[in-house]
């Protein structure tokens, strides 16, 4: 892999790069999704595009493939400026994309999927025989020999992916964008895909590889471009960028950062003596999260750290009962909890603040008051309706304690700012007086002031004896709030850090450690 020695000048200065995106800017109402991002792709390289949620990876790809129009900057293809306005135009320029959810027609045959829309014709009739031969040839280039007359859906995801790649290459073959191609593949299938990618690279193709699996990047990518919050962090030779540096760049911290946790250490020692409120043993779900153990004690904040896609949310969903575990057991307050469901979880005193509050949390047109009392009402059952006066009283209490900025309790919640919406959903769960509160990215997309307030609130709830599971991409937050931290990598729990080990450097090192093969 390391054909260039670290520190030496680049061995072969590229002539004109295959693709050059210069200072590309894209603004959505209120957000700069891309802020003067540069991206260069050489012919014959696999280039990983990395970044956490909201880094701008998909926006960059969408600008390149003509789905979004850019607001500024230039795109040069082999030195010539281009303006793709649609996927079809991008394809004609030689830029093809294979998405994670395969965009082919499942019921049609493999052969037809390769040639749809560009079938060879003779005397006004499709030449099925040459379609079959052509598809066989296109797949043979990827080392795949299958019955191309069978419907696509009768093959595994990996083969469907190969068919999508075969089509993309057959349509036009200069730049291939693979958007999270490995997320639904098993290990053998990934190896097979990588073999194909290397072969295509040797044939002079430029491949953009988007993934959040660090190991895979080091397996196959020649260079890495890291984006963060819509800005370019940098482009690096893979061989010259240690994993720990990559992770630090993705999450925007420096490795030397050792800001230790404060404030909460005093309760940590005695919490281990008590009985855990939640005791998870070997809980797992195939394709989501490998079996893991976890204890959460009352009066304790347990952090969950890991990169995007490492299985944080999946683990939280299993504990809350949103997804059914296919392995493992859970004890709640010492009692075995069989067959979890959300209703039971709420009855047992669980609360869950979802990652995507817009889609999974808010009822945008209901008032602030109605949004706040929703979970409490659901817990009581609809027969025991809360009186209007009581609803208003509860809502007003939380508006005061959480410092929600609103003119009155009956304002539709969609008119509130992001931070205030988040506090309202937090209030919804607090109203049910939960024993365990799961917070999945509670501070995403809210301003600094509101962030600090939510962190203060978490500390207060912990002191009041609540058990809290705290998930955040921002290590600083995790470290500041949590007494113990569960570290996840590639959907496996890799460590549980406590005490002195709870610091950013240690967490980053844990995430970066390569798999022991």
């Amino acid at each position: 892999m390391a054909d260039q020695l670290t520190g030496q000048p680049v061995a072969h200065p590229p002539p004109t790069p295959l693709l050059e995106m210069r200072s590309v800017t894209k603004t959505f109402p209120g957000v700069a999704a891309l802020d003067r991002v540069d991206f260069t792709l050489r012919a014959g390289e696999i280039h990983a595009l990395m970044g956490e949620n909201g880094a701008g990876k998909s926006t960059l790809i969408k600008v390149l493939t003509g789905i979004h129009a850019r607001d500024g900057g230039d795109i040069l293809l082999a030195g010539k400026p281009v303006e793709p306005h649609s996927t079809i135009q991008a394809q004609k320029l030689g830029i093809s994309t294979v998405y994670q959810e395969i965009n082919l027609i499942p019921e049609l045959s493999v052969a037809e999927n390769v040639f749809l829309g560009r079938q060879p014709m003779k005397l006004g009739a499709i030449r099925w025989r040459s379609i079959r031969r052509g598809a066989e040839a296109a797949l043979a280039r990827l080392d795949l020999s299958i019955d191309v007359t069978r419907p696509l859906i009768s093959y595994s995801m990996a083969i469907q992916q190969m068919v999508a790649i075969a089509r993309a290459l057959d349509v036009s073959a200069r730049i291939l964008i693979l958007d999270e191609p490995t997320s639904s593949l098993d290990e053998n299938e990934v190896t097979q895909l990588f073999r194909v990618m290397r072969r295509l690279k040797d044939g002079g193709l430029g491949i953009v590889f988007i993934t959040h699996f660090i190991d895979q990047v080091y397996d196959v990518a020649d260079r890495i471009t890291v984006l963060r919050n819509g800005r370019l962090v940098g482009a690096y030779e893979t061989a010259e960028l240690p994993r720990i540096e990559l992770i630090a760049k993705m999450i925007g911290r420096s490795v030397s950062d050792e800001s230790a946790a404060e404030a909460h250490r005093e309760t940590e020692a005695d919490s281990t003596a008590k009985q855990p409120f939640v005791q998870v043993r070997g809980l797992g779900r195939r394709g989501a999260i490998a079996p893991f153990d976890l204890d959460i004690f009352p009066g304790e904040v347990v952090g969950m750290a890991g990169l995007l896609g490492s299985g944080r949310t999946e683990a939280a969903r299993l504990i809350f009962g949103l997804d059914r575990a296919d392995a493992g057991t859970m004890r709640i307050g010492g009692e075995p909890a069989k067959r979890t469901s959300v209703r039971r979880a709420i009855a047992r005193g669980f609360g869950f603040l979802p990652e995507d509050r817009g889609r999974q949390g808010l009822v945008p047109d209901l008032s602030l008051r109605e949004n706040i009392i929703l979970a409490l009402q659901a817990k009581r059952g609809w027969l025991r309706t809360l009186s209007r006066a009581r609803q208003t009283e509860i809502a007003e209490r939380f508006i005061k304690t959480l410092n929600i900025d609103t003119t009155d309790t009956d304002k539709p919640i969609r008119l509130l700012s992001g931070g205030n919406q988040q506090k309202a959903i937090l209030a919804r769960w607090l109203a049910t007086e939960p024993a365990l509160l799961i917070l999945d990215e509670p501070t995403r997309g809210i301003d600094v002031g509101a962030k600090a307030e939510i962190q203060r609130l978490i500390a207060r709830l912990r002191r009041d004896g609540m058990a809290i599971l705290f998930i955040s991409s921002e290590l600083e937050e995790v470290v500041q709030s949590s007494g113990r931290v569960m570290v996840l990598r590639d959907r496996v729990k890799v460590a549980e850090l406590c005490g002195e080990d709870v610091n950013e450097g240690r967490i980053m090192h844990t995430i970066a450690e390569a798999h022991v093969a």
């Binding site: 965009n103 082919l104 027609i105 499942p106 049609l108 419907p151 009768s154």
Partner: protein, 336 residues
């Protein structure tokens, strides 16, 4: 091999078996059912249903639905009759005019469905009211067509046979069996099969019905295909209206009432998935034949009300939908 054929032509094979079974059972039970005359009548008596069902097959394959076909048949038939009998047009011109109108009508429904992302159910429901209403505005009651052209067309097969120097008896037989309505139906069917399997338009129709988002990302002309599909259905139902006038020698604003539902039933029984993307035009022929066999058998029986046809079709429809769901499940399982 057999497993693969079953997978690929599963529902089609099931339909063929049911069709054959019904034919044999009816043939054993009722005297003269196995005659050629009855056999040919399946095609001529159901020609306008069949023609409309071919257009409907494309619409359903594309993932849509067209509720306007029955009303279009009534509307087309009365416009033809009025143009010929009241305005004094030549029937050929009248038919041509109606075919153009029907195609434009279908195309504009397709355009609305595509342009404004409207549900096909509602747009074609509106089209149904519109076409039925226009039919009645054109003329309140049925008009019989007295023009010489119509009997001339009916005599055409026999005439051609005579021209081919067949004996008088043979020519008479040809005239008896070869009904022009059936010929038009079989022609439409052949063109339909060709369009579905041998042209890009046909394959795009399958793709749009299979997954519209994927079709878009694959760079297929989704909008154009949708407009074409409804235009084709409009053409077919207008042609079915013309065949209706040839079959009855009249135009009638009430013609084809609820026929769109028969057409949908025939298409679904023929093995086309209502969700789109899977099916065969040939299957629709089988669906129409099953319709015809049940109807004829009930006529032969004499003791049963003709409404029993509906009951039988209702049951068959349910059974076929269930069968399709089961097949789909096994297909879906095979992929995981």
């Amino acid at each position: 091999m057999i497993a693969r054929l079953m997978r690929q032509y599963g529902t089609l094979a099931a339909t063929a078996v049911v069709c054959a079974l019904l034919y044999v059972i009816a043939g054993v039970r009722y005297e003269y059912f196995f005659s050629w005359r009855v056999f040919f009548a399946f095609f001529s008596d159901n020609a306008f249903l069949g023609i409309a069902a071919v257009g409907m097959t494309f619409v359903i394959l594309s993932g849509g639905i067209d509720l306007s076909v029955g009303a279009m048949i009534g509307c087309a038939s009365i416009i033809i009759a009025t143009l010929v009998e009241v305005a004094g047009w030549h029937p050929a011109m009248a038919v041509l005019c109606v075919l153009v109108l029907g195609t434009l009508f279908g195309a504009s429904m397709g355009g609305l469905i595509h342009r404004f992302a409207l549900p096909p159910f509602i747009v074609t429901l509106a089209g149904m009211f519109l076409a039925r209403g226009v039919g009645f505005v054109v003329h309140q009651e049925s008009i019989s067509i007295e023009h010489q052209f119509y009997p001339a067309i009916l005599d055409l097969p026999a005439g051609l046979a005579r021209a081919a120097h067949l004996s008088d008896d043979a020519a008479q037989l040809v005239g008896l069996f070869v009904q022009p309505t059936a010929v038009v139906f079989l022609l439409v069917l052949a063109v339909g099969i060709y369009l579905a399997h041998m042209t890009r338009f046909g394959r795009n129709t399958y793709a749009v019905g299979g997954s519209e988002d994927s079709a878009l990302l694959m760079g297929l002309p989704v909008g154009r295909t949708k407009v074409q599909v409804y235009a084709l259905s409009g053409f077919c139902s207008a042609l079915a209206g013309a065949v209706y006038t040839l079959y009855t020698f009249s135009g009638n604003p009430t013609a084809g009432t609820m026929l769109e539902l028969d057409a949908i039933a025939a298409v679904v029984i023929g093995g086309t998935l209502l969700t789109g993307g899977v099916g065969y035009v040939a299957g629709t022929l089988l669906g129409v034949l099953i319709f015809g066999i049940i109807q004829t058998a009930i006529n032969f029986d004499g003791s049963l009300s003709s409404w029993w046809t509906r009951i039988a079709i209702g049951f068959l429809l349910l059974i076929f939908i269930l069968l399709q769901r089961l097949l789909q499940r096994t297909l879906g399982n095979a992929s995981t």
